[in-house]
Amino acid sequence: MKPDPARTIVPRRRTGVVMTLLILTGILVDQPADAQTSLASERNVKVAYLYNFLRYVRWPETAYADESSPTVIGILTGDPHSRLLNQVAAKKQARGRRIVVREFDSVREIQACHLVFLHAGTAPADEAEAIARTERQNTLLICESVVAAQRGVPIRFFADHDGTIGLKINVDAMTRRGLQADAKLLNIASIERD
């Protein structure tokens, strides 16, 4: 048996030190860092990324029928980002073109899109089908899924160590689809090859 003092006095003193430490670190840390990072909902961040892809990826001229034809974003029916994307489409333009969001009931129906986004709930088999389908067109495919190994997906989102959302850009897949990413976009992404 240990003597009683170890049981009563020591923990109380430690608790005090601990509390002081927690408060101090809290105060010291809180101020400067606020300016450095900000916090947002994951869906908003991803939708903002999608919008930026339209700005920083160059499609070949043949991908558009004429000067006035819009840029088409394809998503699956039931995609939780649908409402947000429609808001972006209503307000914004990219490279001087209107944005149109089209919803498809299944991946087999996807066609004539410049950008296709598959949300995390998409089945792996559907993702594989979408990769094969969109590869024949000048379509920028973006997958949210992080679990399945995706071959030939031009851009994938991933959750980074520090709680931010990162990008993995497969430059080979981009080239195959005739797409060209701006250096600004490549700078913030991890580059992959087949």
């Binding site: 670190t25 809180d30 909902s41 994951e42 961040v45 920083y56 709930g121 976009l185």
Partner: protein, 705 residues
């Protein structure tokens, strides 16, 4: 006994109350959902039951979300890349029902330790990482011995927890518990650790009585590139590790990894400790995915090391000895996805381990074959079923003249068959789910066992879940309790002479009926909480009995006369306080009371005072500028009267910063405000001498590419 039955009634009343208060809400939910069923566009969520639609749920917040989106749209790419995202209740979990789900939809007390939490803790071993899970009791007995338990019986040889690493059950069949010094992986490659408190016996194996711990490593498609870690410090004297991953031309993902560590001795007041550990480990994993939805995984590892030990033996005094440990395993799993709702998998593994302690050598070979399949029957039944076979071949040798532990027969083959079926019924889409299932098992020691469970889940809205469950779980007899012979050389409790423990063969299985309720809520993007309460009613617990035969030495044997009541509650919460400061905390109140009728040896079924009554843990995570991170983990653990261990507060910290593009440096301090403290008491059967956990620091660098 009166008190026990009163408590059972109390729990039954609690369950009834939960059901009754929830009852009227059925009508409400049905009403509010009815228009949605008629209007097709709103029915879209049915196709993706795993996705919470928080945007439609928070219609009132639309303004706020819009302005947030607006400001994000105006940001440049660099600041978008630096934007942190709020955590959600959607953490993936598969242990509860052996299929992919989210925490929000799991009717069990489940917690997920993510790879991020592991990395930020700076912990270097699996049992230390488990300290992050709410309600688990993790006590370090000495440098390489641990007591990890959930809600009940604790101790190095506690035997009611099921632990799996990538689908491989890691318990030692000798005593049906887990020896933690040999359970290890490269922590960088851990995908997540799922911890379930309470029984998970319906879909998992025979030991999932008090809890299930499922350690999952990343698929090798997620570990392309190289990783290296090297560090040194006071307790963690030195450790290195590394991994190389990639994909072959034929599309096979692979990784090979290795690690080595040397841990120093801890502190022993009034004696010299002898509990250093060193171990080397090599492993690999390959994953191949065919275009036709077949997935094939093949993985394995080999380890070799030494766990030093110190034991009090009354005749020989205090002895120091080295426990050589080695082992390896190979596992292959084939999964076929027939359709989105239909998937089957077949898994086979071989596991071998050798260790030697107290002159007693254990060599065990395990083969395990497991099949499972899930499919949807009509639209409202998700059925999962499976079958398994396990064969254990062991060889227990002791060449000492007066063997300390011996088993008779020396070689034994134990077989176990099991099957399970579980049906998750949708009573009302996105509102009420009822899960009913049972496991059927048979093994060499005890006969047919039935382990049914019923779980009800209610989702009052998209960001909350309430559940309750009643289940039965058993622990099948271990090799030693069935036919072991143990020479107990300890002076306690009967005086100073060698005592023989005789196994008595078929005793049947130890039995638990558990009642649980729980509620969890994602209050908003920045705050989530979870509360559970439980009552565990154990009977047929094994207990030692002292026999005084006429004209012979007294001996011990085992009876199944003991019973126990366990009860308690656990609360945990996560809060994102500012953009760079998040907090995670939990509190657990847990009690267990054993009823050991005479002539039982007191404390041999389990000790009431070996489970901390109160435990609190608080983790602060700070994201400082330029990628620097600071984490402070504070833990309070109540005293353990049965182990003569006073309460303690331990503070662990990690500070990390990026040295270059691929290089991260970390400094870790553990037990900072305390010179040393004991966490557990001695074991009077093995004579293990507990040591105290000292203050320690270590630093390491990690390189990722």
């Amino acid at each position: 006994m009166d008190r026990r039955s009163a408590r059972i009634h109390l729990v039954a009343a609690m369950l009834a109350a939960v059901l009754l208060t929830a009852g009227p809400a059925v009508g409400q939910t049905a009403e509010s959902l009815a228009p949605a069923d008629q209007a097709p566009p709103s029915g879209q969520r049915l196709e993706h039951p795993d996705t919470f639609d928080e945007d439609t749920a928070e219609g009132a917040d639309d303004e706020g979300l819009d302005s947030e989106l607006d400001s994000l749209l105006d940001q440049d790419l660099g600041s978008l890349r630096r934007t942190s995202v709020a955590p959600a209740l959607e953490v993936e979990v598969s242990s509860v029902s052996r299929q992919k789900s989210t925490i929000g939809r799991s009717p069990a007390a489940v917690f997920v330790i993510t790879d991020e939490m592991i990395r930020r803790s700076g912990y270097q071993s699996i049992p230390e990482v488990l300290r992050l899970a709410p309600g688990l009791q993790v006590a370090r007995i000495d440098g390489n011995k641990w007591s990890v338990s959930s809600r009940g019986e604790s101790g190095r040889f506690s035997d009611k927890l099921l632990v799996q690493i990538d689908g491989r059950t890691v318990y030692n069949p000798l005593f049906a518990g887990v020896l933690w010094d040999v359970q290890d992986v490269l922590l960088e490659d851990v995908l997540r650790i799922e911890v379930i408190r309470g029984p998970g016996a319906t879909v998992w194996g025979a030991n999932a009585v008090n809890g299930v711990i499922n350690i999952l490593t990343k698929s090798s498609s997620q570990t392309h590139g190289s990783y290296a870690i090297a560090g040194a410090g006071t307790l963690e004297q030195g450790f290195v590790g590394g991994r190389l991953g990639g994909r072959t031309e034929r599309g096979v993902d692979y990784r090979v990894w290795g690690k080595w560590f040397q841990r120093d001795e801890m502190d022993l007041v009034g004696g010299s400790p002898y509990d250093a550990t060193n171990q080397a480990r090599l492993g690999f994993r390959t994953d191949w995915e065919s275009p036709a939805d077949d997935k094939l995984t093949f993985q394995g590892q080999y380890y070799n090391g030494e766990s030093d030990s110190l034991a009090d033996k009354d005749l020989a005094g205090r002895i120091e000895f080295d426990q050589p440990v080695s082992g390896g395993n190979l596992l292959t799993r084939w999964t076929r996805t027939h359709s989105a709702d239909h998937e089957s998998s077949l898994q086979l593994y071989y596991d071998r381990f050798d260790r030697k302690a107290y002159g007693f050598g254990q060599q065990t070979n395990i083969f395990d074959l497991d099949f499972q399949s899930r499919f949807r029957y009509r639209c409202d039944h998700r059925i999962i079923w499976g079958a398994g076979y396990r064969a254990i071949f062991d060889k227990l040798t002791n060449n000492d003249p007066l063997p300390y532990i011996a088993a008779d027969p020396k070689r034994r083959t134990v077989q176990r068959f099991s099957a399970f079926i579980q049906d998750e019924m949708t009573l009302l889409e996105d509102a009420w789910y009822f899960t009913l299932g049972s496991k059927f098992s048979h093994n060499t020691y005890s006969n047919f066992e039935l382990q049914p469970s019923a779980r009800l889940l209610w989702l009052p809205n998209e960001s909350a879940a309430a559940w309750c469950a009643v289940s039965r779980a058993v622990r099948t007899p271990s090799r030693l309790s069935a036919d072991g012979r143990l020479i107990v050389n300890q002076p306690v409790p009967l005086g100073n002479f060698p005592l023989e423990l005789r196994g008595v063969g078929d005793l049947g299985a130890e039995n638990l009926v558990s009642y649980e309720v729980g509620y969890r809520q994602q209050t908003n993007e920045f705050f989530a909480w979870d509360a559970t309460a439980y009552f565990h009613d154990y009977d047929k617990l094994q207990v030692l009995r002292l026999n005084f035969p006429p004209a012979a030495l007294p001996f011990l044997d085992i009876s199944d006369a003991a019973a126990a009541d366990g009860y308690g509650f656990e609360i945990s919460a996560t809060a994102q306080l500012t953009a760079c400061w998040s907090m995670r905390g939990w509190y657990a109140f847990q009690r267990i009371e054993f009823d050991e009728p005479p002539p039982s040896v007191a404390g041999s079924a389990g000790k009431s005072g070996a489970l901390p009554r109160n435990q609190v843990s608080l983790t602060h995570s700070f994201d400082l500028s330029r990628g620097r991170q600071l984490d402070v983990i504070t833990r309070y653990v109540d005293n353990l009267p049965a182990e003569s261990t006073p309460s303690y507060v331990a503070v662990d910290t990690r500070f990390a910063w990026n040295v270059g593009r691929n290089l991260t440096a970390s400094v870790v301090g553990r037990n900072l405000f305390d010179r040393r403290h004991p966490e557990f008491g001695p074991n009077y059967f093995t004579g293990d001498v507990p040591t105290e956990v000292p203050r320690s620091v270590h630093a390491y660098v990690e390189w990722r590419r």
